[in-house]
Amino acid sequence: MIPAIVVFLYLAAVLYIGIFAFRRARGREEAEDYFLASRSLGPFVFLFSLFGTNMTAFAILGSSGHAFSNGIVTFGLMASSSGLVIPLTIFLIGTRVWALGKKYGFMTPVQMFRDRWECTHIGTVIFVVQAVLLVPYIIIGIMGGGTTLNTISGDFVPYWFGGAIVAMVVMSYVFFGGMRGTAWVNTFQTVLFLCFGAIALIVIGVGMGGFRSAAQGLQASPLSSLLTRERISPYYFFSYTFIPLSAIAFPHILIFCLTARKMSQFKKTVIFYPLCILAIWLPCVFLGVMANRVTDIPEIRQKQEARRVLATQGRNMAPEQRDELREQSGGDDVIMILLKRYAPLWLAGLLGAGIMAAVMASDSQILALSTMFTEDVFAFYGGKTRFGESVQVQTGRIFIILITLFAYAVALRAPETIFELAIQYAFSGYAALSPLLVAALFWRGSTKWGALAVTVWTALAVVAVAIFQAIVPAPAPGPATVLWAPGGVEVLSRTPGGTAVFGFMPVVPMVLISALLMIVVSLMTRKPAAATVEKYF
């Protein structure tokens, strides 16, 4: 119960920050102030809020869970590749989008695309695809909140109530505080997680009797492959470097790039981003791997047993049995289990609050969807002209309530695994949309029809991969099921973790074909007027 009280205190603090931001902005019912904090964020808030926006429940809990099952490869796969690609895209694309936003008043990516390519409804198509890919994040954030509160309180707070509290708190500070409140809360959450992540590492390490003995014990055990990268193929590892291309294409990240007061504020963000990734992910991955040595905890033994049965007998099982074992062996809760085992109650509460901070990262997505709806649909189709800017801001607030209620209703009914999968598709989808930004900012010859081709291709490819993985069940750990191999070349396979195209993850062909479509279709179609193009180069 004590940890749950600490978490509730934390939620109250977060709520207060949102309301404080609202009072700070009192009297200013301007869209730019509410949705972009008047483009006035300072360097410290800009770095930590932009970084915190990317640190979702999927990133934190999922990383230790992935490391528990797959070993140290998780860090190179998901973290250090992001530490290179994300700051690089912020440096190349974020700074340019910031400058264009300042010069021409853009508040969303679609506004920029509409202006850059002189298009109207094609912009609406891009909005729809972006919005559909973003909604699963909001749902999974609420699910993560409900699950975390339920676990921390030892089942005292039921899942439905935990989810409702998290939804209410996030909705309230986004509703009142807008971008300013969201950025301040994200900064607070990131600092909290950085501090308590380090404390968690020390406390758990001491509790386990030191990492040296745990690591050496693991090295001498049959699980020693977890200390290597043997469980993942080099093709898969290479493919994963395409996934962080999604970050800059996410509307909430790009919109965040518009909030900096000066372009020089990007400098610290670009330089420190890889170090922030290192500080948060390395402990999570290391603890996830070391959890395999904590065999005196029954929950961890059960997970290992499920993993062993799946590996040895999975080939002869029905797909449903394999899915059940996969769920049982999943390690998304290992950090929580380790905290319960080794941390004193009050500290487990503080650390739980740190995890809660990561879980609640859906705030930026909610605000981004609201910004996109009010700017790209409401204002674009005449709402702002007819009803004024104050009504536009109120519309954005109403949208925040509606989208949160919708996400909560879905979170209560649907199984979590569906949305975990949807997020995986969304990463690939946004990565496949990244050529839109590159073409808009770096290629004079790009056209709206090229943009449409990229958007439609992305939507079709995401749906196709989802249908394929729903129809063809995942095989047991080991060799993939080859579905199409003309002339002995393995073109399409179903792997235990997803799909492989020529051995690569689907994101590789998705991004490459997107880029190709942009080039070919643009070369065949009419360019925007020279005056429009000159605004961008």
Partner: protein, 78 residues
């Protein structure tokens, strides 16, 4: 020349990320950090250094100047 060197540096760092040389080694650095994890941790520091190089030698300051020309006196107004 400076830009070409920076592009080469980005490509080299990207290749270094692939790290196939420690793929199957379970050697423990300092007796507790697996070599593959230690390498990727060091890689993150190298990535930060690369970003520092880019920010120092290839910063698109012309963009900021364009914005200042387009919105003169904005900072004073805040």
């Amino acid at each position: 020349m400076k830009k070409i060197l920076l592009v080469v540096a980005v490509v080299v760092v990207y290749i270094l990320h692939q790290d196939i040389w420690f793929w199957r080694s379970s050697y423990l650095v300092f007796g507790f950090i697996p070599i593959g994890l230690f390498y990727q941790g060091c890689f993150s520091v190298v990535a930060a250094l690369l970003m520092w190089l880019l920010v120092t030698y290839a910063w698109p300051s012309h963009l900021e100047e364009e914005v200042e020309r387009a919105n003169p006196g904005e900072d004073e107004a805040r």
